[in-house]
């Protein structure tokens, strides 16, 4: 078995555990490379069917290419698509730094979707290697009724046994690609031929390595115009993936505060 087969198999196992044990699950789709891989893995796990709704939290500030991509693949992949609008930035915690305040809108959009649809499980495409706080996540990670993450008291997770029962009011975040790296995502995207928003490929010496709202996402200098180029670039880079995401870097703990409040 190749390394990609191994991590794919683990993700499929997690998807199937979630489907067997939890009612009313949705997959969060940001339309980025990671969540496209997550959708792909769901189709692998369930033999071409996705037995969950696909939830898009719309900031209304995404790149136009992102909306075009959505419009095309909702139909082509026959998705049970649901969207939720985010509240205006003025309603966010004013003590957060500016970019984090913008990012916090997504948390609120997510909370209102959970309340509206009564989801008990949300599948999110986060990875441990993205960011130091996410490195501490569990595959099955409980959130209380405010959506908050208790980083300091997480359930133990071992022997492929996950927290699949929980008290009322709690929902579970399921992270099927937690163990993947950025490079793994690219190699798998290439092997499987998974489509992508073309902002990841360089134009005029710049490309996006990570996609978020337009105002707080910055491109990196790059000449990578194909997936192979991107893989070659990542194999030697020493720049972190989320360096172009402004909200991570405003203060030492800004990302931790976002995550604890329920951000993906």
């Amino acid at each position: 078995m190749s390394y990609l087969d191994t991590i794919e198999s683990e993700s499929i196992y997690i998807f199937r555990e979630a489907y067997a044990k939890l009612d009313n699950i949705a997959i969060l789709w940001s339309l980025g490379k990671d969540s496209n891989v997550v959708l792909w893995l769901a189709r692998k796990a369930f033999f071409g069917h996705i037995p969950f709704p696909i939830l898009f939290i719309d900031t209304e500030k995404e790149f136009p290419q992102v909306y075009e991509f959505r419009d095309r693949y909702v139909g082509e992949w026959n998705l049970n698509y649901i969207e939720e609008q985010c509240p205006p930035v003025e309603e966010m915690d004013p003590t957060l730094p500016p970019a984090a305040r913008l990012a916090a809108r997504k948390t609120y959009g997510l909370k209102s979707a959970v309340a509206k649809h009564g989801y008990r499980g949300l599948v999110a495409g986060i990875r441990r290697d993205e960011e130091a706080i996410r490195a501490k996540e569990r595959y099955f990670s409980p959130r209380d009724d405010t959506g908050a993450w208790d980083l300091r008291d997480q359930p133990p997770e071992f022997f492929n046994q996950y927290m699949t029962s929980f008290p009322p009011g709690v929902h579970i975040r399921i992270h099927p690609i937690l163990h993947w790296t950025e490079l793994d995502v690219w190699k798998y995207t290439k092997r499987e031929g998974i489509p992508l928003v073309d902002l990841y490929f360089a134009k005029n010496g710049k490309r996006y390595r990570s996609l978020g709202e337009q105002e707080i996402t910055h491109p990196i200098a790059s000449d990578a115009t194909t997936i192979d180029d991107i893989i070659a670039e990542l194999e030697v880079t020493r720049v972190p993936e989320r360096s172009g995401r402004a909200m991570d870097h405003e203060a030492e703990d800004s990302f931790e505060r976002l995550r604890a409040a329920g951000y993906m």
Binding site: M1, S2, Y3, D5, T6, E8, S9, E10, I12, Y13, R16, E17, Y19, A20, W40, R43, K44, A45, F46, F47, G48, H49, P51, R128, D129, A132, I133, A135, K136, R138, L151, R152, Q154, P155, P156, E157, F158, F159, N160, Q161, M163, S165, F166, P167, T181, L183, E192, E235, R238, V239, P240, E252, D253, E256
Partner: protein, 621 residues
């Protein structure tokens, strides 16, 4: 970095040890010395330290959460990656503070090798021992011990030797052998990537050399097939049984057995989505879906195997476990067992041993306190399909859940308990019951009493035979059709082909149970006099005889029986001349709710017989 090594599986390494023995510092140093730090990270840490007015602190690399930086201890496991010339590593930093043991377990359980740190200055501490024990309970095969902070111990060879010798002895006592012992200073970089100038007396491998010497665990393809059924899907015309192959391999056309339901079917296809061609074989590690040629009812929780090497079926097993619950694990308590994809209630029948990693074993305990490890006997109502861990790691371990959260994990042992598979498998399927012309009532009318099975159980020396034979003589004179089944008349004939292994003992009792039921049906009073140590066996005998069954516990403690030792058997068992002797090497399971208890430590032999006769007279006459 060549493409070859980039595609290779990264090795997962956990770093464990007592709090403040230098785990996070070691990781910071490993990253730096292998050139794996992202750009700007050193500078960011430098700045962070300056803001706090403290010297450069390697540990900040891992402890990137605010609270951890302020307290200076790791709360949760962190996973980051680095590369050496040989391969890439996922490195897991596990907290050393006892309050965060569940996080240490989470981190360590997924790793393939471990580095265990001991502070040269402080020496071996409680968590040093506890973590060593947990590595063995988690099934982590490779461990190297690093004696850290050698700079604070003056790079003294004798201090290193003293700690290494002491800890090697401890590891051996729990059945673990270390891959090596290395004297290091993580802060100063001694013996990490290069040999230390300060310790010319040490010629062994550096930390990087010992890491590169660790092996990936061998694939489980050549083991007996074990597929854990996760679900059965009917999204379209196909009925797909989904699950992961934990060991072995499957091929289209294979006949497979599902346990514990004991159903068989042939694999019709291996299903997959978006693959170049449909697979015809699959092996350990793959998450697959199969369709079967015949439609049998299979559900989540079953284990798929081949018929020639199936898992063990049992409703009782021993577990070596670590306990994470807020309240202690107690004898008699019921938890939720998670074994593979099966979940069911499980009761702690006995706490056999508590291992106190601080000092010595305590064998008299009835509870396991938070963060301790121990051995228990666990019993379920339903049958389980499981393995010894050396046969299949995934089906040889278990988790206990209480109030939604995992509270224990451990390894299974079946030592002293039989495989119940053969006893529950119905082989003769082409036999049709024929109604007898002579009714039970007619037989009872002629005999003047009903038939029944009086099943004695108890330790050797408890008085079963004495009471049975005296009662038989008395009942015969009172006009009863009565017969005693015991080792003398069963073992020499009907069961002459059976020995004393747990399986043979179970089969012995199964046959006695069936014969006793026939006798009772024929109108006899049958007294069976066997130790019959396993509750499951006695329950089967009860099922065979239905309402005619009476379980009679001939009760005397092990100490009393050993003191009596009428045939000298206990003495021989203690001397090792007899193996698998009940009460000594093999368990005796007391009845839960026997119809009658005759306590022979309290009653004289005559009174014991009288009590039994009174019971029988009241039930049958």
């Amino acid at each position: 970095m060549t493409m070859q090594s980039m595609h290779a599986q990264p090795l997962k390494i956990v770093i464990v040890g007592h709090v403040d023995h230098g785990k996070s510092t070691l990781i910071g140093r490993l990253f730096h010395d292998t050139g794996s730090l992202p750009d700007g990270k050193m500078e960011a840490i430098q700045k962070m330290c300056e803001r706090r007015g403290m010297p450069f602190e390697w540990a900040f690399l891992m402890d990137s959460i605010q609270a951890e930086r302020d307290q200076g201890i790791t709360i949760d496991t962190t996973q980051i990656r680095f590369k050496t010339g040989r391969r890439s590593y996922v490195i897991i930093d596990a907290p050393g503070h006892i309050e965060f043991l569940k996080n240490m377990v989470t981190g360590a359980a997924s790793s393939e090798a471990a580095l265990l740190l001991i502070d040269a200055d402080e020496g071996i501490q409680e968590q040093s021992r506890r973590h060593g024990y947990l590595l063995s309970l988690l099934g982590i095969p490779q461990v190297a011990v690093l004696v850290n902070k050698m700079d604070l111990a003056g790079y003294d060879a004798s201090r290193f030797g003293e700690i290494a010798e002491q800890y090697r002895g401890y590891l051996e006592s729990i059945g673990v052998s270390a891959s090596g012992f290395i004297p290091i200073s993580a802060r100063e970089g001694d013996n990490i990537a290069e040999h230390s100038k300060h310790m010319p007396w040490y010629q062994g491998p550096t930390v990087l050399q010992i890491l590169d010497g660790f092996e990936q665990p061998p694939p489980l393809e050549d083991r007996p097939l074990r597929l854990l059924v996760q679900d059965v899907y009917k999204f379209d015309h196909r009925r797909i049984i989904a699950g992961r192959i934990e060991a072995g391999r499957i091929e289209v056309g294979d006949e497979v057995l599902f346990s514990p339901s004991n159903k068989t079917a042939r694999i019709k296809s291996i299903e997959a989505w978006s693959v170049p061609e449909r697979p015809t074989v699959a092996a350990a590690g793959q998450s697959v879906g199969v369709t079967l040629e015949t439609q049998i009812f299979v559900e989540r929780g079953e284990v798929m195997s081949h018929a020639i090497d199936p898992p063990i079926e049992t409703n009782v097993f021993k577990g070596r476990l670590f306990w994470l619950g807020q309240r202690p694990l107690t004898k008699g308590a019921t938890y939720t067992l998670k074994h593979g994809t099966l979940e069911c209630p499980v009761t702690v029948e006995r706490v056999e041993r508590v291992v106190d990693t601080g000092v010595l074993d305590r064998s008299d305990a009835t509870a396991i306190e938070r963060h301790a490890v121990g051995e228990v006997v666990l019993r379920t109502r339903r049958l389980l399909a499981l393995d010894e861990p050396h046969v299949s790691p995934a089906t040889g371990r278990f988790v206990l859940v209480q109030d939604h959260a995992p509270v224990a994990g451990g390894q299974i042992s079946m030592k002293g308990y039989p495989d119940q598979r053969d006893l529950v498998t119905v082989r003769a399927t082409n036999i049709t019951a024929v109604g007898h012309a002579v009714t039970r009532e007619a037989r009872a009318g002629r005999n003047g009493h009903k038939g029944g099975v009086f099943w004695f159980t108890g330790l050797s020396g408890a008085g079963k035979s004495t009471i049975a034979l005296a009662a038989e003589a008395e009942l015969f004179t009172r006009g009863f059709q009565v017969y005693v089944l015991d080792g003398d008349n069963i073992r020499t004939g009907l069961n002459a082909n059976l020995g004393f292994s747990p399986e043979d003992r179970a089969e012995n009792i199964r046959r006695v149970g069936e014969v006793a039921a026939l006798f009772a049906d024929a109108g006899f009073v049958v007294i069976s006099s066997f130790i019959s140590p396993y509750r499951a066996d006695r329950e089967r005998a009860r099922t065979a005889a239905k309402d005619d069954f009476h379980e009679i516990y001939i009760k005397a403690s092990l100490a009393v029986c050993e003191e009596r030792d009428p045939k000298g058997l206990y003495r021989k068992a203690r001397a090792g001349e007899i193996r698998d002797f009940t009460g000594i090497q093999s368990p005796y399971e007391e009845p839960n709710a026997p119809e009658l208890v005759i306590d022979t430590a309290e009653l004289s032999a005559d009174d014991a017989v009288a009590r039994f006769l009174a019971y029988i007279q009241a039930r049958l006459a």
